[in-house]
Amino acid sequence: MNTLDIAIEKRYSANVCIRASLSLPAGGFSVTALLGPSGCGKTTTLRALAGLEFPERGRIALGGRVWLDTERQICLPPQQRGIGFLFQDYALFPHLTVERNIGFGLSGVSATERRKRVAEILELLQLSGLENRYPRQLSGGEQQRVALARSVVTQPELLLLDEPLSALDTLTREQVRRELRHFLAKIGKPTILVTHDRVEALALADHIVVMSAGTVLQSAPVEEVFSHPASSEVARIVGVETVETGVVGAVSEGLATVEIGGQRLTAVATPDLVTGQRVYVCIRAEDVILQKGYEGFSSPRNRLQALVRSQTREGPLIRVALDCGFQLVAVITSPAVSELKLRDGDQVTALVKAPSIHLVARK
């Protein structure tokens, strides 16, 4: 199994320094998201991987190939790294048609071969028919796919995406977010993307690297980062949240049932949801209401019998870990904990309104 090993250090001023150290899977298809607030060093890390930014110290190697080693004075230019880079605003060449944009990096191959490969990638990314348009004649979503096509047609070993959705308007972004992972899977390359949007990371990635102030705080699979943040800093960045994999049951009248850990939850359905689909079920900790002993009528659709596993104090709030067939996290105030006389091992009822359960589809 190939891995991408990164250990870089870049200093911008006396107190701004980026120190990223990571090891990521880079065998077959996998998507890693570098997640963090603006200025945390995620884009610098991505650009250092591409060879567009030069760390003062460090080493980058993919499998056995060393791309950067400041001690041995090795620094491969972007041309020799075998990467595909998708720029934030795509950087399509405005003076070239879609076909010539995509074929731009194929100057070493014959014209017939070039035409064949461009046609293949156009087909794969559903762009056929747009060959002779110029970038300014394309919609935002189409521009993004053309840029993606251009970066993968040279058959890179590693695909790097810088904020792939941020240049799109809100409506298009939702649609492209749903499609992008599907396209990335079809391309089948190890992919690293940069985002500051947790929903984007959830929808696209298998693995999340949380960064803040120039350092890596946690690097783990998606569920683990959201459900078991390594520190309160990570929790603040990703939002304390339960993220578990569920399977969509019936979908009707805008509501969907989701099976998760032997429980059946009701959630508001998103338009593309189909029965049998695997989804991430996301419940924010502050949306979970705890009750003890009261069995009367209440409006939330979801009433879960849960066991209190542990309680952690976070400032004025208590974070309560619950087991209700799956791991659920609730955040309540300390007076509420005393009123409920909450102790570890207690049986409680957790209430969650249907609109508070967010389903993120994974293709």
């Binding site: 567009l52 230019p77 041309q79 720029f87 950087a91 405005p94 731009f104």
Partner: protein, 220 residues
């Protein structure tokens, strides 16, 4: 109308423009992309002719290439004649004096090319050299063309430097603007007027083209 002077003027302007294209493009690209901290000194040197009286530049050029300077002696030994008061002399003067008119628009044009376009080409395994010709130059083309036109137009009208280093030798260094001066001195206002009208009409046409290019009225 001094047709010889008109033809000489066109030759000086055309040669200066070609030389400045060859020197100016790399210099401008370097100025637009370098992060060297002292580059402002080079920018100041390039811009000098904009503020310097042409006579000052012409004077130092005359001294530097005259028979008393090592450079002048070297030139005379290799070429066979002195640089001042020859076509070569006014060409050197014209090139130096028009440097900012070529380099400044070229630099602005290169600086306006989105850096990410260049980086995108590099990431597509296209060499730096090929990226310059396939991305940078096509995207900066309008600005480069403006620079070429302005350089040519300005070289046509050059007076002070040419007079200092070239003097006023008919058929050799007497350009149109010098011929006008000459005719006025000789009180031949009719010829001076014809020649001045030619330069005025030319300058107006050229500037119209430049502004039309910038407004994208002309399809280029």
């Amino acid at each position: 109308m001094d047709w010889k002077a008109l033809s000489l003027t066109a030759q000086v302007a055309a040669c200066s423009t070609i030389i400045l294209l060859v020197i100016g493009l790399p210099l401008a690209y370097w100025l637009a992309t370098t992060r060297w901290r002292w580059k402002f000194l080079i920018e100041a040197v390039v811009a000098l002719p904009l503020v310097l009286p042409p006579t000052v530049l012409g004077f130092y050029l005359l001294i530097a290439t005259g028979p008393r300077s090592p450079l002048g002696r070297f030139f005379e030994a290799t070429v066979g004649h002195a640089l001042p008061f020859s076509f070569g002399g006014i060409l050197v003067g014209s090139v130096l004096f028009n440097l900012p008119f070529a380099v400044r628009p070229f630099t602005a044009a290169f600086a306006s090319v989105d850096r990410r376009m260049v980086e995108a080409a590099w990431c597509l395994r296209v060499s730096r050299w090929a990226t310059f010709f396939r991305v940078t130059l096509p995207l900066a083309w309008a600005g480069v063309l403006t620079g070429i036109i302005l350089t040519f137009a300005h070289a046509v009208g050059e007076f002070g430097v040419v007079l200092m280093i070239g003097g006023n030798i008919p058929d050799v260094t007497r350009t149109l603007s010098i011929s006008i001066y000459d005719n006025v001195q000789a009180l031949d206002y009719t010829t001076a007027n014809h020649e001045a009208l030619v330069l005025l009409g030319f300058a107006f046409s050229i500037l119209s083209v430049v502004y039309a290019l910038q407004r994208r009225v002309l399809p280029l």
